[in-house]
């Protein structure tokens, strides 16, 4: 098992920069998820860690050892490809045994290791089948089998669930996480699905246009996004943004909106002059007839225990997640209250978050 340290990694394809100024550390035994929209450089980063692509600059340390220019074969890392890349001309057994055959392991040992890996993944009954006839879930397990059978230092997985349908994906998410609990192997997992990332990760790295924007545990990223990009990318529906052209004088604890004041958590850094953006998660909005901020109900989406209510305010459109029991009818005008300690503030010009002190954090440590 190993720690992976990435320093100032950069990769350019000709003039196009696919990955830039990336630095982060994957702790030993961590389930590390790289999350980002399509084309942001996740696969390229992963391929550089694996040794399938050489970085333009920067270093990759595996357990403190510089492996930046080592060949893939010498890194002792396993890679699970998006489309699994199972060799179609081999049986399941030979697919799983393939990495061991390369190491020149004795036949009996290989057979035992393959059997063990297969039992571990509950595919031992499929060992003599051809891979072409397998369901995508079983292919997924065979690909995992080929990865775990040689007990590598780390696992790299590039959207391994991308080829599965939604229902099955949820199940495989759980299985992958359970597998990680048992093996405790350092894993770098790439996805563009934020739900997948939030549900599986110990640590999430959010990438945007080739750069890592934020690294941290899922909850920290959800609660304290460092930028409007992260806030918008994480959460479903995403965070609401209200533009506050008035800005904020230092020391002020509330923002004026049409018809009243919204209290905000105390900023812990200097507030830049100019426009601010207020970020509100949908679940931190409630109806309050006494509130100064008024909004018209535009649409109501009933989800069972909760409902999604679309609201029009003087500052823009909002989505609120409310208990299903709250009465909301299209056409109504309601008052809105916000959970003060949960609000986020962003610099309207740069989109960077303005750090605030949240009373709740003090409580939870």
């Amino acid at each position: 098992m190993a720690e992976i340290r990435i320093q100032d990694l950069r990769k350019a394809f000709g003039d196009f920069v696919a990955v830039e100024r990336s630095s982060f550390t994957v702790r030993d035994g961590d389930f590390f998820v790289m999350l980002g929209p399509s084309g942001c450089g996740k696969t390229t980063t992963l391929r550089m860690i694996a040794g399938l692509e050489l970085p333009t600059s920067g270093t990759i340390l595996l357990d403190g050892e510089d492996v930046t220019f080592r060949r893939a074969a010498q890194r002792d890392i396993a890679f699970v490809f998006q489309l699994f890349a199972l060799y179609p001309h081999m049986s399941v057994r030979r697919n799983i045994a393939f990495p061991l055959v390369c190491q020149g392991m004795a036949r009996a040992e290989i057979a035992a290791a393959v059997q063990e890996a297969a039992r571990f993944l509950r595919i031992d009954h499929l060992l003599d089948r051809a891979v072409s006839g397998l369901s995508s879930g079983d292919r997924q397990r065979v690909a995992l089998g080929r990865a775990i059978v040689r007990r590598p230092k780390a696992f790299l997985m590039d959207e391994p669930l991308g080829a599965l349908d939604a229902e099955f994906r949820a199940l495989m998410c759980q299985e992958l996480r359970a597998l990680h609990e048992r093996l405790r192997a350092t894993t770098v997992y790439v996805t563009h699905d934020q739900l997948e990332a939030m549900s599986m990760a110990d640590t999430v790295a959010v990438m945007n246009q080739g750069a890592v924007e934020q690294v941290g545990p899922p909850q920290q990223i959800y609660d304290n996004p460092v930028s409007m990009f992260v806030a918008d990318f994480i959460g479903s529906p995403p965070m609401n943004f209200l533009a506050m052209p008035g800005g904020l004088a230092s020391g002020e604890r509330s923002i004026s909106v049409a018809g009243g004041q919204i209290e905000i958590p105390p900023p812990t850094a200097a507030i830049p002059p100019g426009e601010l953006t207020l970020g509100i998660r949908p679940e931190h909005i409630s109806f309050d007839d006494a509130a100064a901020m008024r909004a018209g109900v535009v649409a109501v989406e009933y989800l069972g225990t909760t409902q999604l209510v679309t609201l029009d305010t003087a500052h823009g459109r909002l989505k609120a997640r409310l208990p299903a029991v709250t009465s909301a009818r299209v056409g109504e005008t309601v008052g809105l209250a916000f959970l003060t300690q949960r609000l986020s503030l962003f610099d309207g010009a740069t989109g960077r978050a303005i750090p605030v002190r949240r009373p709740m954090e003090a409580l939870h440590g």
């Binding site: 040794g51 399938l52 893939a72 074969a73 490809f81 001309h89 990495p99 390369c102």
Partner: protein
């Protein structure tokens, strides 16, 4: 592919169209097969039957054509024939019934072997070189790759026979005239561009991930090529090999020009049978029938690959 059939499907032909298409295919097959069948049947006629007019549909089959193909014979006087001891073998008897005595084996067998060596030798060489080259073009950043690929294709643009005279002179001074090596090199040179282009298409279709998985699993690039890419490319290799083989097997012009003795292949030899002692059509037909055999066998063996291969990856998952 999902089943896009139904009333509004544009792709699905109507039953009538199908029937017309079927009839056309059968007509074409008949047109193509009848001459072949005629050659095959003529090989089993006697020389008088083969030139009978109107043509004989019913006749007593005879192996005379095949005997004449594989032997050289001399015509003798009836007195001399009578003085000989009784014929020992069926082909001796057959020859004597025409007042002939078998003098020895003909050159057909030797020419046939030459054809096999030259055609299969050049095919193996062209396909191997083509596969390796195509792999390099497909996987590595080759400077000027597109221009080089075009250059390779351009060697096919001129009809090869246009350079027959320079090649003839060159081969003579190099001592390659009338040798197996010379013919193998020549056919390889003609076929290799086709092999590169065909194989490039097939190898482009094989996802890189297969090799990358092997590289990560600890194999070298060459091992990955050998263990992962080659088995995947089997279909393409089979299709390419058949194209190359057909060209090399049937090639006439260069063979007639550059070979005359030791290395002469079957195509220029077969017509010379006609000259030996009158118009021996059954022998020519027998020679042609046997000549078709290797390609038929090779194609039948590889037909599964061929069908998938000629659609150029369209059926690949």
């Amino acid at each position: 592919m999902s089943g896009r059939t139904g009333a509004h499907s544009v792709v699905e032909p109507s039953p009538l169209t199908r029937r017309i298409a079927g009839a056309l295919v059968i007509c074409y097959a008949l047109i193509a097969i009848v001459p072949l069948l005629w050659i095959f049947v003529t090989g089993f006629k006697t020389p008088p039957d083969s030139i009978a007019y109107p043509p004989k549909m019913m006749f007593t089959p005879s192996l005379e054509g095949y005997v004449n193909l594989f032997t050289t014979r001399s015509r003798q006087s009836p007195e001399y024939m009578a003085s000989l001891p009784p014929a020992e073998t069926w082909y001796d008897r057959l020859a004597r019934s025409r007042n002939m005595v078998i003098a020895g084996p003909s050159k057909y067998g030797q020419r046939f072997v030459n054809s096999l060596v030259v055609a299969f030798g050049s095919t193996i060489l062209a396909v191997s070189l083509g596969t390796l080259t195509a792999y390099a073009f497909s996987r590595f950043r080759v400077p000027l790759a597109d221009d080089l690929m075009f250059f390779i294709l351009s060697t096919r643009m001129m009809p090869p026979i246009a350079v027959a005279i320079p090649i003839y002179l060159m081969y003579r001074s190099l001592g390659l005239s009338d040798t197996w090596l010379g013919m193998i090199l020549l056919y390889t040179a003609v076929n290799v561009s086709l092999a590169v282009w065909l194989m490039k298409g097939f190898i482009d279709e094989i996802p890189r991930e297969y090799e990358e998985a092997a590289l990560i699993d600890g194999y070298t690039r060459l091992q990955a090529f050998y263990k992962v890419v080659l088995p995947q490319a089997a279909t393409g290799i089979a299709a390419t090999a058949i194209f190359c083989l057909i060209f090399a097997w049937n090639e006439y012009a260069f063979a007639a020009l550059l070979t005359s003795g030791n290395a002469q292949t079957a195509p220029p030899f077969i017509p010379t049978i006609i000259g030996e002692g009158g118009l021996d059509w059954p022998a020519v037909a027998a020679g042609a029938s046997l000549f078709l055999l290797p390609i038929v066998v090779f194609t039948v063996i590889l037909r599964k690959h061929l069908l998938r291969g000629i659609t150029f990856g369209a059926v690949r998952k």
